[in-house]
């Protein structure tokens, strides 16, 4: 078997397949858009004191932790009519100016708010047993950290150019490295580090991949997502095992009314149902299957030396059941699973096993949780199991088969108090988590490529990394945090997390804290700092017990400005010091000798009001590292200095129109400067110049989106056109090289990607 051809063309082949899949994904992403929730209608007004002027006022109810309280009852004293808060905790009610609103919900003490303006400050409900208090916090609840942002499902679906997909929506976030085509990566890259440095959580528990192998599609549809928390740094002590950022997805609880919806496109099709089972149980169940496998074979040119024996395909499924056991207890069951598979021969001869490539990635996560709330106490208890398998086979010699089963019990208890030790509005949390994993690994592969190492020549006979065996990966964590107002304008959080990575015998202490200072003129300043660890678990890192965790220390300063309801401008500047970075020794073993820094600044301005949804984000980042003592400082592989996203969406009647402009830097490239021909292996061994000394050019594009909704009998129909890169700007993503590295060819972004979708909700 010829190594040059197999390596060069196979690498190209996978890239092309990815490119191809992105095109097709763009071609047929079905609309999964639900009309944004309307604000609760104004209540009728019997019993209102008629001597006061009536006004329609809006506001929001949040809990002590700043999270929206949905389903709370809002009314004026002595009135019979009330309204309920929506899932964002928001309400709208017509009441006399000067009256007092009473807010009630089981598990909370009633809260009071004086109606002194048409837009009320957020009303904070404290857990039952503590005194009612109205806290002056203007505008929306604070984000999880300086620079963090939250998107709910309807917002995810309003950003043009994202095709309703969670992964693509993430690229609009400041600090997320925008990869036009994610060649070989399955995670999100935040603030210029590496994909493995950030974690993706679904319902509080980690999932191994964020998107499917083909199509750059998230592993769960936006319709199954309730909200997306994006925390690029400075995250809370409840999160661990990451040295950069967190993306936390919450699955969608079922709706009060039974609905069924279906969607079909060129990339996939699915159904999602939700509703109630009795008075106390809600459910959501979804299933999706790729349709790309039906389309792909017909699009491969007959002249291509390629045989897709198992066309790239995937399945994913989502389930969530919420049950109100009592006024104090709520139970939930959440499950998520996915299965991706493909098999191809880089020839039309399917007997040529040396040219076979096979991949199967699958996992299922099942979480059973309980939430308790009584008086000042609340608790979240959950146990989650994960079973995952990754199989890759290349030719007859190279393979990897990793099976991992993990059981993770987790508990967090919260105690609130109005006052304690001279502090006010006190929230104390304590939690623990144990992750007990069992890995079975069978590997025969070349030495893996690590961050900064240029692509090696692909030798299908190279199996220099070999491992066959099973081992336990027990990790434990405990954390506690105290949040309180030092005075009415200053709120502080101090916390400590401890991780025990038992396989490598490492105990980590990670102090974290944050300070929020309310300034005049609707400004809030925030300062966050903390220590973070990422255990060695990426690629083959956990095949050895000699590798330690990677460390980071983050400092973030932010300023938040909320001049009016729905408008928020937040800026942040950050510095991250990274140490103990894992790098290769000359013999291929791992050490923790690397260190690096990332500095940057971000801006996010959003406005949600009336028919408008606007989004402006910009990030500047500079991310460098040193791989060994005395080595030259270099850029991270994902260093992206500039990234700008400007989006606007306008909804009127049945129409919704939107546009998004993107401008971002290309990624660094390590150029080959020559090659030596290994005649025995028939393989060219590249010689590279300085690591990441070139950079792909800057890319810009405009995306537009048009939605139209109508009623078709009992079915709500939506059709949309989402066109990416409308002025067809092709820019270089990276370069492909000839087998002997004497020629290179630009791999360009796609000139235009039109998408059409149709969805019906019954």
């Amino acid at each position: 078997m010829n190594a040059q051809r197999t390596g060069g063309d196979t690498a190209m082949l996978f890239r092309c397949l990815t490119l191809f899949a992105v095109i097709v994904a763009g071609a047929g992403i079905a609309a999964a858009q639900e009309p944004p929730p309307e604000a609760p209608p104004p209540a009728d007004q019997p019993g209102l004191p008629h001597d006061l002027p009536i006004a329609t006022v809006t506001g929001r109810i949040i809990d002590a932790a700043g999270k929206p309280v949905a389903g709370a009852t809002v009314g004026i004293e002595d009135a019979t009519e009330t309204v309920k808060t929506d899932r964002n905790g928001k309400f709208q009610i017509s009441v006399p100016m000067g009256s007092t609103l009473v807010v009630e919900k089981p598990g909370f003490d009633p809260a009071l708010a004086n109606v002194s303006a048409t837009k009320l400050d957020d009303v904070v409900m404290l857990a039952a047993g503590t005194n009612t208090e109205t806290i002056e916090i203007s505008g929306e609840a604070p984000a999880a950290s300086p620079g963090a942002a939250v998107l709910d499902r309807t917002e995810l679906q309003r950003i043009p150019g994202t095709g309703n997909d969670v992964v693509r929506a993430l690229t609009a976030m400041p600090g997320v490295v925008n990869l036009q085509i994610p060649l070989g990566y399955s995670g999100v890259v935040i603030r210029g580090s590496s994909p493995q440095d950030s974690k993706v959580l679904v319902d509080d528990f980690e999932v191994p991949v964020l998107f499917h192998n083909i199509g750059f599609r998230a592993l769960l549809p936006a319709e199954a997502v309730q909200s997306l928390d994006y925390i690029p740094g400075g995250f809370d002590v409840q999160y661990g095992r990451a040295s950069s950022g967190i993306v936390a997805l919450e699955t969608r609880p079922g709706a009060d009314q039974r609905t069924t919806q279906g969607e079909i496109s060129l990339i996939d099709g699915g159904v999602l149902g939700q509703g109630t089972l009795g008075e106390r149980t809600k459910y959501m169940i979804g299933f999706r299957r790729s349709t790309i496998d039906l389309v792909l074979p017909s699009l491969i040119p007959a002249s291509a030396d390629l045989s897709l024996t198992t066309v790239p395909s995937y399945y994913d499924g989502q389930l969530r059941i919420d049950h109100e056991l009592s006024a104090k207890w709520r139970l939930y069951l959440s499950s998520l699973g996915t299965n991706d598979v493909f098999e191809l021969y880089a020839t039309k001869d399917e007997d040529a096993k040396t040219k076979r490539f096979y991949n199967n990635t699958r996992f299922i996560r099942l979480t059973l949780g309980a939430q308790y709330h009584e008086g000042p106490w609340s608790a979240k208890l959950a146990v989650s199991g994960l079973a995952q398998q990754f199989v890759f086979e290349a030719g007859t010699l190279q393979r990897v088969d990793v099976r991992l089963s993990t059981m993770t019990p987790r508990a967090e208890i919260t105690r609130t108090a109005e006052r304690w030790a001279g502090l006010s509005n006190v929230v104390w949390r304590i939690g623990a988590e144990a992750s007990i994993g069992r890995s079975t690994v069978d590997i025969a592969l070349p030495l893996e490529k690590r961050e900064g190492e240029p692509m090696k020549a692909f030798d299908p006979k190279d199996t220099s990394t070999r491992f066959h065996g099973s081992f336990w990966v027990p990790d434990f964590a405990g954390w506690t945090a105290l949040t309180a107002n030092l005075d009415p304008q200053i709120r502080a959080t101090v916390g400590l997390r401890s991780d025990v990575f038992a396989r490598i015998g490492e105990v980590a202490l990670e102090p974290r804290g944050e300070l929020q200072i309310k300034l005049p003129a609707a400004l809030t300043a925030r300062l966050s700092a903390g220590a973070y660890r990422r255990p060695p678990e990426f690629q083959s890192e956990n095949l050895t017990t000699n590798a330690g965790s990677e460390h980071s220390a983050q400092v973030i300063a932010g300023l938040q400005y909320e001049p009016r309801e729905g408008m928020r401008v937040q800026t942040s500047a950050y510095a991250t010091d990274r140490s103990h970075l894992l790098t290769h020794n000359l013999d291929g073993s791992l050490n923790n000798n690397g260190h690096g820094t990332t500095t940057g600044a971000e801006l996010l301005a959003t406005y949600r009001g009336g028919p408008w949804f606007t989004w402006l984000s910009y990030s500047y980042s500079h991310s460098t590292r040193v791989d060994a003592p005395g080595a030259e400082r270099r850029l991270f592989d994902f260093d992206q200095p500039h990234s700008l996203n400007a989006a606007v969406s306008w909804k009127h009647g049945r129409w919704q129109l939107g546009g998004r402009f993107q401008l971002y830097s290309g990624l660094p490239i390590t150029p080959p400067v020559g090659a030596v021909f290994d005649s025995d292996r028939n393989l060219y061994l590249p010689l590279y110049g300085k690591v990441n000394s070139e950079r792909a050019p800057m890319h810009n594009q405009l995306d537009i989106r048009i939605d139209y909704s109508w009623k078709w009998g009992p079915t709500e129909m939506t059709v949309f056109a989402d066109v990416q890169n409308v002025y067809m700007n092709e820019s270089v993503v990276t370069y492909f090289y000839s087998y002997d590295y004497t020629q290179r060819q630009a791999f360009k972004s796609l000139p235009i990607i039109p998408s059409l979708g149709l969805r019906g909700v019954l």
Binding site: L266, S679, N682
Partner: protein, 229 residues
């Protein structure tokens, strides 16, 4: 959707279409370096040459302009330029034993002598291994079939736009096969059974070559003229 489908259909060949493929003989390159024989015992000699490709020209077999022992350095004196050829002379058993100790090899293991060679004013460089302490021979080209007929030395004449089968008797799990051409488009060039098609825009004449490598650094090749009509 239609636009995207067309884009998708055209993207795949576009990815791999503009770089010289590995089977292209019309390219300045070292195609294979040969040691004859590839394995020698103490006192025996092996000579080094290579099959070269040239942009716009024919292939040639040439002696390296420059050669040097890359590893192990202690055996650098085993390579010499003698009578217009680069020659490796296997050292004594004592020196081979010392080299095995240096390289941490088993007592009876062959000592791999890695030689670097250079051509075209050192713009083309390659490495080649000669096994010292064991007698090895280059593999034979067995049962080579061109267009369904046993290969001879004469020119291969093929029709345009016709799939012409090529085959050699070799197990692709044990041998590395490479079919190369400067006339036509090669398919499955790295399999024992390949085929060539001279497309409308391909040159009408050129060369066809097969190179066979075994796992013991042995190599053999043959080159035929090819003409399309």
């Amino acid at each position: 959707m239609a636009i995207a489908a067309v884009a998708a259909a055209t993207s795949l060949p576009a990815c791999i279409g503009d770089l010289d493929p590995a089977w292209q003989l019309d390219h300045d390159r070292i195609i294979a370096v040969r040691a004859t024989p590839p394995g020698i015992v103490a006192g025996d000699r092996s000579t080094i040459d290579a099959l070269l490709g040239a942009k716009g020209g024919k292939t040639s077999v040439a002696v390296p302009e420059l050669a040097q022992v890359v590893s192990p350095a202690s055996l650098s004196d085993t390579l010499s330029f003698d009578s217009g050829a680069w020659v490796v002379t296997a050292p004594s058993e004592d020196r081979l034993a010392a080299a095995r100790a240096e390289l941490k090899l088993a007592a009876d293991a062959p000592v791999p002598l890695q030689v670097g060679v250079a051509y075209a004013n050192q713009t083309l460089v390659a490495t080649k291994t000669i096994a010292l302490g064991v007698a090895e021979a280059n593999p034979p080209l067995v049962n080579v079939m061109l267009d369904g007929k046993p290969a001879g030395a004469s020119e291969l004449v093929v029709g345009k736009l016709v799939n012409v089968p090529l085959s050699i008797d070799a197990d692709d799990a044990l041998y590395d096969v490479a079919w190369l051409t400067s006339c036509g488009t090669m398919h499955d060039f790295d399999l024992p059974t390949a085929h060539i098609t001279v497309e409308a825009d391909d040159p009408d004449a050129g060369e066809l070559a097969v190179v066979l490598r075994d796992a013991r650094a042995g190599v053999a090749w043959h080159v035929w003229p090819i003409h399309a009509e």
